[in-house]
């Protein structure tokens, strides 16, 4: 029964034409689709397992690293002040590279350029912890990606990737997350794919993970070849998603099923 419904829905999605973007008033964080139990896990810091990474991040923020023997705190001081609202503006344009970088990319640029340390691996405990700690300082701050004109073509590329059908299921992100977010796929809510709480703790992962991990999992789900961690395509998708979520409050560290 469930399998049949699942296949029917996927087929319907594959056949349907793309609808428009979600109107401003109808935008909903993934939080709004969750059960009361999962919401409670996010609401209380002492219940939220994502806070373990935030704590780790606070320790790393103060730890000296690299040949420069500098800690994040040596330049940026108290993260609670200096990092407030910062994550809400990412990905941001990096002039030296001529492309946008996400928060994880920025942390690694800081490591290589200023701390003269080796960059952290994607999804490493350290990178997740530091990005969670930095992003948590923006909790409640409305998402506001920069209006830097140099970013515009990358937002456009991200949008193009979002609506581009791909994979063996021939689905675009938009087929689910713009057109069918009020429906269910198997037992799960489809959601709008709003990136409000990353890095976040997924019950499925039983761990904290980045938006890039989530995007790669989705792409694998439609049976397409996932872009590599750190690839420009993933950053463009992140950038488009953040521009699509403009004004929604940051929830890091969110909890999701």
């Amino acid at each position: 029964m469930r399998i049949a419904a699942c296949i029917a829905l996927l087929t319907a999605m594959a056949g349907a034409a793309l609808a428009a973007e979600i109107p401003q008033a109808e935008r909903r964080s993934g939080y709004g689709f969750m059960s009361a139990d999962t919401k409670a896990m996010q609401d209380e810091d002492t219940d939220n397992p994502g806070m373990l990474s935030v704590l780790d991040g606070e320790t790393l923020w103060k730890r000296k690293a690299g040949t420069a023997d500098k800690a994040c705190a040596d330049c940026h001081h108290d993260a609670r002040l200096s990092m407030k609202g910062v994550a809400a503006h990412y990905p941001a344009f990096e002039k030296a590279l001529g492309r946008p970088v996400d928060l994880e990319g920025r942390i690694n640029l800081c490591r290589t350029n200023h701390q003269q340390a080796s960059p952290f691996a994607y999804e490493s405990r350290e990178l997740l912890a530091l990005s969670a700690y930095v992003a948590q300082q923006s909790r409640g701050v409305p998402i506001a990606p920069g209006d830097d004109p140099e970013l515009a073509p990358f937002v456009e590329k991200g949008h193009a990737l979002f609506v581009q059908r791909q994979g063996q299921l021939n689905l675009a992100c938009a087929n689910c997350h713009d057109d069918n977010w009020d429906k269910k796929l198997a037992g799960s809510a489809i959601t709008q794919g709003q990136p409000t709480g990353y890095p976040l703790y997924r019950l499925e992962w039983q761990a904290l993970g980045s938006l890039q991990r989530r995007l790669r999992a989705c792409i694998t789900g439609i049976r397409a070849q996932a872009y590599d961690y750190g690839s420009l395509e993933l950053v463009e998708l992140e950038l488009y998603l953040m521009s699509r979520a403009r004004g929604m409050p940051v929830e890091t560290p969110a909890v999701r099923p």
């Binding site: 409670a40 499925e204 992962w205």
Partner: protein, 153 residues
């Protein structure tokens, strides 16, 4: 029965796009294993139903992290209290979930934790009181599978 269940889930995992990372394997705990695990705690004592309350969602969004609270009706005085609470499951590879040892100074016989359920199944909580009587409650939990799960490790 167990075989068809496994086939269905394997197929479902493929439909979802990738192998499920939850504990999907044929070797579920058998009813005999569950009975043995319970006997291991209660010995030959009779287990009565009552006094124990199990708060667990009847339908869970992800079997990897299921919130659960067990509470026992007890005055929690020096003479009359809950010694321990034992939680078991029916279909995970192992029947035990956790043992929790309290005492009169707990004040309130209640523990919460988060558990893993590999499939829709029954969860049983058994309390041992200070007079060495055993009381239990059982709840049914339906575990839905995520539509798009990641590749295994």
């Amino acid at each position: 029965m167990a075989n068809s269940e496994h086939t269905r889930r394997t197929f479902f995992g493929i439909t979802g796009g990738a192998a499920a990372m939850v504990i999907v394997r044929p070797a579920n705990a058998t009813p005999a294993m569950l009975q043995a695990a319970i006997r291991n705690v209660v010995g030959e004592a009779n287990v009565r139903s009552g006094k124990v309350k199990l708060d667990i969602p009847p339908l869970v969004e992800n079997g990897n992290t299921v919130p659960m609270t067990v509470s026992v009706t007890s005055p929690m005085t020096a003479d009359e209290y809950v010694k321990s609470i034992h939680v078991f499951n029916e279909k995970n590879p192992q029947p035990n979930i956790g043992n929790f040892y309290l005492g009169p100074r707990a004040g309130r016989a209640q523990v919460s934790t988060r558990i893993r359920l590999a499939d829709s199944q029954k969860v049983t909580a058994i309390a041992r009181l200070s007079d060495d009587t055993f009381w239990s409650v059982t709840a049914d939990v339906v575990v839905t599978l995520a539509a798009c799960t990641e590749e295994a490790i």
